[in-house]
Amino acid sequence: MKIILILFLALSLHANIKQDMFNLYQNKKYEKVCRMGFDNFNKNSRDEEFISLYAFACLNSDYIDRLAIPVAMLKFSKESRSNSAYFSVILMQKKLLYHALQDNYDLSTLKLPTTDYILSKVFDLYSKLKINEPRAFYLFEDENDKKLTYKLYLSKDENVKKMVIEEFYDTITIKRHVYW
C-alpha cells in the first residue's frame, strides 16, 4: 500500500511541473523555466503546451539552440506550427548571423521572414550591409525609435567566439544578449 501511495504522489508531482513552470513564467523567471523544461522534457514530450512554454522560456533567456527540438516537435496544432515556424526563423537567423560575423558571409541577398525578437531586428539591420571589411563592432539604430541602438560584436572567449548584442537606450545599457 505504501508503494502505491508513493507512486500516486510521484504522479501528482509530475503533473504539477507544468503548472509550476507556468507560474514561474508569469513571474518572468524564464531561465528557471527553461532549465525545468529541459530536465523534464522526456516526461512531457507529447504535451505541446509544455513544449511551447519551454521554448518561449528558453527564447526569453537567450538559449536559442534549445529551440531546435521544439521546432521539430511542435506540429500537431495550428498554433504549434505557427510557433515552430517562429522559432525556426530565429534559430536560423542566429546561425546565419554568427556565420556572417565569423566568416564574413554575405547576408545581403537573403530574403527571410522577420520577427519581433531582438536577434531578428539585428539580423535585418546587419543584412542590409553589403560585403565589407569585418569591423570590431557594428552599431545599428532602431528604425522606429532613434534613441534605441544595438551594438553587435564578437567577444573572444577562451574556447569559442561569442556573438554579443547590447541594447542601448540613450546611452544606457538595457540588456545584453550573448549567443554562441
Binding site: S45, V89, P113, T115, D124
Partner: protein
C-alpha cells in the same frame, strides 16, 4: 490422539491464505511499474527518432523541391549544388554565385512572424476552475479593496469616472470575457496575497482601459513589494491615463532615485516628451 494429516492440511491452507494478499500486491506493483516504464521509454524513443526524421525530411525536400542549402557540415546536400533552374519565389538557394548575381533585395516587405501565445490562456483556464466554487460578484470584491487604498482626491474621481465610462463603452465585449479571469485571480490574491497576482490584475485592468482599478492594484502591489519594476510602470502609466501627468512624473522620479531602472527611465522620457499620453 492428534490427526496429523488434518493438521497439515489446515496448516497448508492457512499458509496459502497468508501469502495470497502479498502475492496480489507484488503482481500489481510489477504491472504498474511495467506500464510506467513502457510509457517513459516510448517517450525517449520518440526523441531518439527525431534526428532520423529530420534527415528523412531533408532528403525528401531535396528530391522534390530542389532546395539546396550550402552548409559545410551537411554532407547530404553537397550532391545537389548543381541546380540549373531556379525559381526565386519558390525555392531559396543560398550559394556564393547567386549572391554575386542577385542585387540586394532586403526590403521592408518581408514577412513578419509573430508568436502565438493562446496556449497560455488555455493553461490559465485549466488552473482556474479550482476557484469557481465561490460565486461572488466582482464589483463587491473590488470595491472593498478600492476603499482601502484609494488615494486620488474627489475631484479626480469625477474625471476618472468620465474616462472609465468612455473606456467601458469602447471595449465592452472584451471586458466581459476577461472579467471572469480577473475575478478568479482576485480570489487567489486574497487567499495568498501574492504580489505577482495583484500585478497581473493591475496589468489586465490597464489593458482593459480600467485605469482607476489598474492604479489601485498597482498601488497594492507596491505596498506589498516596492521593488517590482513593472508595478511602478503600470502605476505611473495609469496615472497618466487618469490625467495625472505631474504626479506620474514625480512618482517616477522618486522611484528612479532608488532603483535606476532603465525601463522606468524610458517611460519617464516618453511621458515628458509627450510620446506617451
Amino acid at each position: 490422539m492428534l490427526n496429523t494429516r488434518d493438521l497439515e492440511q489446515r496448516w497448508l491452507r492457512y499458509k496459502i491464505k497468508f501469502y495470497i494478499p502479498h502475492f496480489i500486491i507484488f503482481i500489481s506493483i510489477i504491472i504498474i511499474s511495467v506500464i510506467i516504464l513502457t510509457f517513459f521509454n516510448s517517450d525517449k524513443k520518440d526523441i531518439k527518432k527525431l534526428p532520423e526524421e529530420i534527415n528523412k525530411t531533408q532528403i525528401e525536400t531535396q528530391t522534390n523541391k530542389e532546395i539546396t542549402i550550402k552548409t559545410p557540415k551537411v554532407a547530404l546536400i553537397k550532391k545537389s549544388i548543381e541546380v540549373k533552374s531556379i525559381d526565386y519565389n519558390e525555392s531559396l538557394v543560398i550559394t556564393p554565385k547567386i549572391q554575386e548575381k542577385e542585387p540586394s533585395n532586403i526590403s521592408n516587405n518581408s514577412l513578419k512572424l509573430a508568436p502565438s501565445l493562446d496556449f497560455m490562456k488555455n493553461m490559465q483556464h485549466a488552473h482556474l476552475p479550482y476557484y469557481k466554487e465561490e460565486p461572488i460578484i466582482e464589483n463587491q470584491s473590488v470595491s472593498a479593496i478600492v476603499e482601502e487604498t484609494q488615494k486620488p482626491e474627489p475631484l479626480e474621481k469625477i474625471q476618472e469616472a468620465v474616462v472609465a465610462e468612455e473606456e467601458i463603452k469602447k471595449i465592452r465585449i472584451k471586458r466581459r470575457d476577461a472579467s471572469k479571469d480577473i475575478r478568479d485571480i482576485i480570489k487567489r490574491f486574497k487567499k495568498n496575497n501574492n504580489p505577482a497576482l495583484s500585478l497581473f490584475v493591475a496589468k489586465k485592468y490597464y489593458e482593459l482601459g480600467e485605469y482607476h482599478k489598474a492604479y489601485n492594484y498597482a498601488l497594492i502591489t507596491n505596498q506589498i513589494n516596492r521593488d517590482i519594476d513593472e508595478s511602478w510602470i503600470i502605476f505611473t502609466k495609469s496615472l497618466v491615463k487618469l490625467k495625472q501627468k505631474k504626479m506620474a512624473i514625480k512618482t517616477l522620479n522618486e522611484y528612479l532615485k532608488s532603483s535606476h531602472s532603465s525601463s522606468a527611465k524610458i517611460l519617464l522620457d516618453e511621458i515628458i516628451s509627450g510620446k506617451f499620453k
